[in-house]
Amino acid sequence: MSGTAQMPGPVARRIRAGDLAELYQRSRAADVGLSEQEFARILDEIASRYLSPTTTEGDSLAFCRGLRLEELALARACAAGHERAWEIFLTRYREKLYDAACSITREDGSARELADSLYADLYGTETREGRRTCKLNYYTGRGSLEGWLRATLAQEYVNRYRRRQREVSLEEKTEAGAQFAAADPPAQPALDPRLVQATDAVLAALGAEERFILASYHLDGRTLAEIARSLGVHESTVSRKLEKGVRAVRERIIGELLRRGMSRRQAEEALETDVRDVPVDVSMRLSQKDRAAAFYRKGSD
């Protein structure tokens, strides 16, 4: 390749031909049947996606060097239908795909089904506008190919779960409407709007990491270890941040409620005791079970 040739795209064109040749060599794209032009086009597509047009040559090159070039070349060569690439892909990833599916579904049958479904998408059994659509074309080399496969499997799994939930709820709805009209849910006591506003304001002001930790632990039921793993920090760090976060949220909400005109005691009560949690059945309390007692007249006995 000549020293003046450049990458074709708008962003990555700043990368010099020599550097491009080095990237091409490092990717071993030639081994899986990709030409340097094809490889340059792929890099450009990815660079256009993640970099701004004003990115400097150095940053563009550093970005490209940071990609999983070999795995990227392999994935794109598979997508392009190169036999050799598929051989390598199957050797390296087929079993891992099933293992990952097993770890996600925790059940062998579903795991096979999930992995097979993804495998079909990877192979590109569907066609769109006359062209085979292969999911491997979406891999950009930002993380490992194995990690991307796991994420894609997990996405598919979550999507299936959501779809199934929607289907079930529709059936229930139909059924309920036809024969078993569901009873109206008991009326919930209204929350003080100031509490809702204060909570929203405090949560909106939380940092992303704080909110992630709170949501992961208190909503998703993740363990400290799992959260720590996601964030790349030690478990004790998560524990400390969680304790601190809960305390801070509580204090800030109370502060917001004070600003909204509540006394401290009212604010603390509003936060601690959700009116919806108070088991008071008003209708039951108002009903009169004992007629005689209700119409008791003095001296009737």
Binding site: R28, R65, Y139, L219, V249
Partner: protein, 396 residues
Amino acid sequence: MAEVPRIVRERLSGQAEGEHPDANLLSAFAEYGLTEQERRSVLDHLSRCADCRQIVALTAPEVSDERLAAAAAARSPAGAKPSWWRSPVVHWGALTAAALVVLIAVGERMRLREGHSASAPAIATVSSNEVAQKSTIPVPEVARPPAEPKQSTKKLAKPSGTPTQTPAVSPGKAGGVGGGIVGGSIATGGTGFGTGAAVGVQNAPTPPPPPAPSSPQMKMQAKAADAGGLPSDTGIEKSLHKANAAPPAASEAVIVTHAAPGLKNEGAVSSKSRSAAMLAKRASLTASWSISDSGALQRSLDGGRNWKDVAVGDGVTFRAVATVGNDVWAGGSGSALFHSADGGEHWSRVPVDANGRTLSGDVVRIEFADAQNGVLTGSTGETWTTSDAGATWRLQ
């Protein structure tokens, strides 16, 4: 753990609006492979999106505590910007001061001894060789003037000695890159003592480039820290220890310097010519190993002044190197692992597989306790061990 009020749980559970990050970003997030800006953006989405949180939780590979520590170190402010006490100026200053103190003490002792022998010549005559030998004992090797015990303190204290004077404490690139790339030694600057001692070798995946490194050296260090390095704040001690150690007992994961066995006890050198010959020999036999910014395996035979790429594994991007004596192990992209039994002259590719399974991802950490027993870690978190010098491997 304190419970949050119900209202907080409810308001927290609202779904994020807008587009979800794709599998590329989510997997890179799980592997700590995003830039800081991207990470913040994805984390913000995750904090509001239960579905994506679940995907990330299902995507995350099993990782060790060490890797978590490395990832944390890579993102900590200390990882991005060295603190003042880790600056090379402080390192060199402390080292110089220590060398000065020792040399003054030695000089004083010699002066007293000479005065004593002049006043009482009949008692004993101390040979110059003996003086040299005694004078060198307490002096740290980094500042020790070979066979020149009466050299001026100014000259002795100069930290950037020739590589032959300080073979194990590789200045400049050796320290910085080595500490950074895998071991994660921080803040050695251009002349620091980074050691990739086995404590901090980690396997975090593709690192997010830190915000605008100020120099190539810093850039490499920061990159390395992102790659999973654990900060080593005992770089000087380890370097000195390493300098004085004979063939290393345990592998050094990054920049590894090993001296030829025949040179390890050359403490007493009486003549200048012999010293020069020894130093030349030492320089020729001392090899430092490192990995360049672009992932090439590099060797320096002059204590880190000049580095040359070693042609091993065409197209492999190296991410870890370790040595034990003459054995050199280097690994990198595509599960590549190479071994040289003769200090890097000849190489062979070593397959890492067992029971039909092969190592996946990149080799990001290599650690050998001795010539036989080693551990290597892949970028996907897999840990493989060998107890027969790499002939067979076991997946942990």
